[in-house]
Amino acid sequence: MSAWFLLLAAHAALADTPAPAPPPAEAELPPLVVEPTLLEFVQAPYPAAATAERREGSVRLLIEIDEAGLVTRVEVLEAAGFGFDEAAVEAARAFRFTPAQDATGPVPVAIEFAYGFVLDSARVEGATPDAAAAAEPGEAPITLEGTIVEMGTRRPMADHLLRIDSLNLETQTDAEGRWSFRGLPPGSYTVRAVHPGYDTLDKTVEVVAGSVTSARLWVRNQSYADPGILGSYRRETDDVTRRTISMDEARRIPGTFGDPIRVVQNLPGAARAPLGSGLLIIRGSNPEDSRVYVDGMFIPYIYHLGGFESVINPDLVQSVDYLPGGYGPHYGRSTGGTVDATTRTSFPERNELRWSTDALDSGGVWLGSLGKEHEHGVGVAARASYIDLLLPAFLADDGFSVVPRWWDFQAKYQYQGKRPDKFSVLAFGFRDSLLVSTPTGYAQGTDADTQGDIATEYSTYRVGATWDRAWGNHWSARVAPSFGTDEAALDVGNSFRLIQTKYTAEVRGEVRYEHDEHLAVVSGIDAIFGWADFAIELPFNPASFAEIDPLAEREPYTLSGTATGWGPDPWLRATWKPLADPDKLALNGGVRLMYVILPDENEVLAADPRFSFRWQAAEKTALKGSTGLYHQPPQPFQSYRPDDKPAAVGAEQSWSSSVGVEQGIGPAVKVELEGFYKDLTDLIVSNSNFGSLDDSYFVNTGVGRAYGMELIVRHEPVGNFFGWVSYTLSRSERQDRPGEDWYLFDYDQTHILTAVGSYKLPYDLSIGAKVQYTTGNPSTPYSLGVYDVDQDTYSAFPTGAYNSERLPPFWAVSARFDKLFTFKAWQLLLYVDLINALHGENPEFEQYNYDYTEKTYFKGLPFIPSPGFEAKVEF
């Protein structure tokens, strides 16, 4: 009898770190881009006690692996007794892995590993595989040979164990997946292939005298899905609240269309966006107060038309960091939150071709690497919508037409060789357009200038490079220049036309000095330079009498020109870990200078000191907090004055503070509770005293406050389940001018509850559900208005203060079902998203009738079944 192993689970072990190593802060860490793989398995002797009682068992281990792939510590998570535990621990200590890597390089990780012991009655007691192999007739001719290939990917399987139990023979595959047996007598044999993480395969083959029998064995991986992050013991300490979701989680959350960037809307602090538009409403901030980056490049839009899908193909997204507040000085020019999407930094050695299609669009991606050592990683993706072809089936043939279209592309190069320099280039772009046409003779309102088609389009193109280099043990640097254009156009009828083309050049650079593990200083620059060509055509001058008198004669108004602006924004950050154990306490301090210059129009200068701390109070308990200033420059149009003189509009300011606690519960559950307060000043509002061309349209008289509490209880993707419950209790208020009443922020939502869960079932099935409940947005009550006879419209009387009432609450239950089919050469994932499966009522806006005597609700989220598929082939 001998022992052999079974790997029951070796992925996604996000267990807590036992002493002496500090517990991990998984959710704060950048995700792994290369997972550790087992290079050297060590077979444990079958314990004598277990042999005597003919016991089998499995020991669940937590294995800590260092940056070199060596095992530093093994802990028994689930004991099996009978000597199995000691044997498994001893054997696992000698395992060797390939190092795990995140974007910065090799990192220590922990994985969960099930070491199995199974009695083998066919084996002679006391024999070992090596002994059995030694008994093979080594010089005899090969009579049976073949290869082992992974189903779905056709990847040759190295180090796979093969056995012929009837002859007590076994062998292993070589690096190319080849195997052979020599000197087998003619007859029928059952070849068994065994490997951790793969289904055991039995295949019967016939050996014929005088010939070599060949067989290709297809083995099935037990977990094909991208495991995503494994978790890491390293901890980013400068951003107090950084929540990272693995790609596998992101793809399985109902209602997100498999888009990882949409997942942030299910996390604490993010309010529900109206009509599923994808607007980022974070901690009581306006959507335009939060910024979205792709590999550090700021982009104006992150979603395609309708807000269903982001503009970056999910297969090229490596991670999405969501920072609702308290972030360090390396992010700026915003008073709200930040979403930073990072594209892949690691590409597979073998080529992968993926194709996905859902109800809205279809696209493909190629991932692979070039070079002798696969040192040049490449990914190319493209996608286009076809919803415009489907819409006519849902619309009446009455002369109206709605034609939404979009496409996007991405191309990424990543140097992934052994040189110390890391270099990458990302180019991407997208274009969206919408055309709404009405039948001839149909009146769109009564304004002669708004008749005709409505068309809008916007597009963005970016190309950016990143270069990383380290010198010695102390110094490292990063430079990331980028360049791009943004175009936007709007046509309403024949008289309204807005066109803008913006060119943006950005340079992000930083130099990092790491004195030791207790002190690090980073100095950086976040420079941006932009210029824009714009043209505006209106049926009348917005500053003319025609704006207030509908009977006044209109004169077409055009405005065109070029605007420029730039800002260097240097920043400095220091991290000090004063205790002997550097992971116990981290203090972060930094400052960012925001300087925005719009020549001849405006200059804005502000200094943003920021501070944060994280104290690991106990093994599974951490306290954290932050406070700091955040400034946001005026939008370019807010700096415009009709008389072309410099505008007196300054930056908006937020003094943002937070304090929170993290508590680990068991190996998979983590609770985070965080309170925040934001004091908003110098908010830009319209100038109520605007009366002549000598005035600014906007002034900084607004103030506001947002405060609340965020809670997330998260079950990490351990085993077959992951999920979280997210709850935000908040209030956000504004006052536009001194002495005026305070009012609720337009998207203020007192309660925001989201529960997400997904479970992997047998047969590559998975099922997920999401439950959402949010307080309705504020609304203003109106009653019967006064009739404007000249315009045939009613001016409503507000019967209450602005935003003094609320819409009914929103709730929705969504579900998702996935089924993965694995064929020999490819894989196919079929899924269906059932959005708002229980047909919840979802009022988005109040809709009054013509004279404000009746009211109903515009319901925004109907039941939407959204099927789709993803196909993947490796070659």
């Binding site: 269903f308 009146a443 009739y787 009738n849 109907p862």
Partner: protein
């Protein structure tokens, strides 16, 4: 969002449409002359419908553009008292801009001679406007209280200028139903439950050409672009407004056998303050199989 909007269930169809006359409504107000000069006497007429209760009356005020707001003239409702002219303080009313009370006092306003004096000389050709403010009441029986929703308040601008080509109110010459000309004042018999194309025929001079002096001081010849608003009590239209030269709507006659007589009203606005209207009287019969 777009698809959601398309698939979304919206209950707006259950709400009253603007073309549906189911309560006291002021539909149109015409000043004559449509674009007076200082010193002119301006008289007013209005299309006011009150299907549920008989029309009691309407009070008329005028104020300057500077004294008006998004809700017309700032008139203290207490000035109108119970709506009974005998209860009103005429002096206080006149001080507030009172110009008439229908049916007892036809509204009339004499444009002050100095009405344009505040404007630069060059701007007087285009002029400015006065705001007319109308409050319409239903007839109240003895002891009946006036409810807030019973009152219709409307306002209308009256352009005042020294224009060389002053505006006139557009005139509706007649109707066409499914292409057949209908004489003004005639009653049309329609089949219940059937759809008809109803066209408003404008008088030949309804669409005026006029001179406009632009910001550069140059004179431009412009042509009016009127639009039509359609109203009824029973039945439906395919659209609420039409823009000239599309002067017709599809009218879906009611199939209620208890309805015998109905009417369609159309109001023409020339966008310069000029306004005209017409009524098409209808009777219904059962449609032939």
């Amino acid at each position: 969002m777009l698809i959601i909007q398309i698939l979304s269930a919206c209950d707006s169809a259950s709400m009253a449409e603007s073309w549906q006359i189911d309560r006291l409504r002021v539909l149109a107000v015409a000043a004559t002359p449509a674009e007076p000069r200082p010193g002119d006497v301006v008289t007013f007429d209005a299309l006011i419908l009150s299907p549920a209760k008989a029309l009691g009356g309407s009070a008329w005020f005028v104020c300057s553009a500077e004294a008006s707001s998004d809700y017309g003239c700032e008139i203290d409702p207490a000035l109108l008292g119970s709506g009974d002219p005998e209860d009103m303080d005429l002096e206080a009313l006149q001080a507030a801009g009172f110009i008439g009370y229908l049916p007892a006092i036809p509204p009339a306003w004499i444009v002050p001679d100095d009405f344009l004096d505040a404007l630069p000389e060059a701007d007087r050709l285009e002029g400015t406007f006065a705001m007319t403010y109308i409050t319409a009441f239903p007839e109240l029986t003895e002891g009946q209280e006036l409810a807030e929703d019973d009152v219709e308040i409307a306002y209308k601008r009256v352009p005042v200028s020294l224009a060389t080509t002053p505006n006139h109110n557009p005139v509706v010459a007649g109707w066409k139903v499914d292409g057949f000309e209908i004489e003004d004042g005639a009653t049309v018999r329609l089949d219940r439950g059937q759809a008809y194309t109803v066209e408003c025929v404008l008088a030949e001079d309804a669409v005026e050409t006029y001179t406009f002096r632009n910001e550069s001081g140059e004179e431009e010849e412009r042509t009016e672009e009127p639009y039509l608003s359609w109203y009824l009590q029973e039945g439906t239209f395919d659209q609420t407004n039409t823009l000239h030269p599309f002067d017709s709507v599809v009218y879906f006659a009611p199939d209620d056998p208890t309805l015998d007589a109905q009417a369609i009203w159309v109001v023409v606005r020339d966008r310069r303050g000029g306004m005209g209207w017409a009524t098409l009287n209808l009777t219904f019969s059962e449609s032939e199989p």
